[in-house]
Symmetry: C2
Subunit: 217 residues, 2 copies
Amino acid sequence: MPDITTRQLSDKVIGRLTLYRRALREIDPTEQGTIFSHDLAKRVGVSSAQLRRDLMPVGYEGSPNRGYDVQKLLASLSGFLDGARDRNCLVVGVGNLGKALMAYFTTRNPNVRIVGAIEADPKLIGRIINGCRIYGLDELEAVVLQAEVTVAALAVPREAAQDVANRLVHAGVKGLLNFAPVHLDLPGGAYVENVDLTRSLEVVACFANQYSEEGRR
Amino acid sequence: MPDITTRQLSDKVIGRLTLYRRALREIDPTEQGTIFSHDLAKRVGVSSAQLRRDLMPVGYEGSPNRGYDVQKLLASLSGFLDGARDRNCLVVGVGNLGKALMAYFTTRNPNVRIVGAIEADPKLIGRIINGCRIYGLDELEAVVLQAEVTVAALAVPREAAQDVANRLVHAGVKGLLNFAPVHLDLPGGAYVENVDLTRSLEVVACFANQYSEEGRR
DNA sequence: AGGTGTGAAGGGTTTCACAGCC
DNA sequence: GGCTGTGAAACCCTTCACACCT
């Protein structure tokens, strides 16, 4: 099997593919069975050329003058994005942000399953929040192994992040969504995406300043 | 005054500049008064060439064989990033995520001031959470005006996001940090940065799958 | 006519590599 | 020698534009 498919795709493309999937899911198939690239593109906020190019590696082709079959494109996208195995995710760190993530992901996202959370504070261990059981920090490796966790959302304090990340990857986690405002140094073999809230807010504030200046002229 | 400075800088560069600033703040100046580009770059997770290039528009120059003066570089960065006016921010939507953001930003970030929160649910209005007063949705325009809000973090349900965004921008907000999983269509004159948690998690899961496949060979 | 898929062009970002300096 | 600043190259991503299809 050649399998040139999912290899060497940038995170940007994959990110947009997930957006296309989400937009398609919001279409009632009894009402609209087919969609044009410019229509779907507009809903997501990209150009139609970009959408068509993004779809190339997925392998599904639309038909000229008819567009894409909504259901078939959805199926192709899911096959492409989800791959063969389960995507079990652990939330690590049950502070304000960790709790919000547990609520957010358990209610909204059917593509990745939250199997539990890890927390150092003994007062929280054993409790169930948002349908998620909370395990102790020393159970980390065992939980990853037993629940076949491949993905983790890191919402621990900055000082602890590198340590916990090391343990997660060593235990077999292959993907990290890191909310701690530090650069994680990890041995290859794991993918890290950083969500840096302070950084994002500061970027917005910086541009807001510029726009304000413009307005004053 | 020419003011070629902050114009036409990409969000990527500005984002990294905020990271450099943060990393510099963690250095004790009595212990280390000067730093090399490769050292600072390593702490942030970028190449030294990139760091040096990013600093070009800031205008501060290091000296060969000595590196950068930590305090002076910090001052230059702050002058460059913060601009002239205040950066007052409103959190809009006090659900799980909104509350987490209030806690996160009020404790961690001295560069942007959180002046309050907006929420539709009458049960929450008037209460104070994390030191933030919660205002009603119908007070939005008044609060933006009175508190000179230029930045907002949007954590409202998907369905409400476009509407609320329109109102915010119309009231004078120049920058939006949007957590709602929709593409916002806004009239020019405002900057939008999207933080799409589900998308980020799915990207991580997708790559995690690939890394798992590799491991099986 | 009005779609799609895609080679080729264009634009932006990162890295290379080296002159200049201490 | 070993650093910085920066032109030039390399690389990646997006857009253009057009052949092809129905």
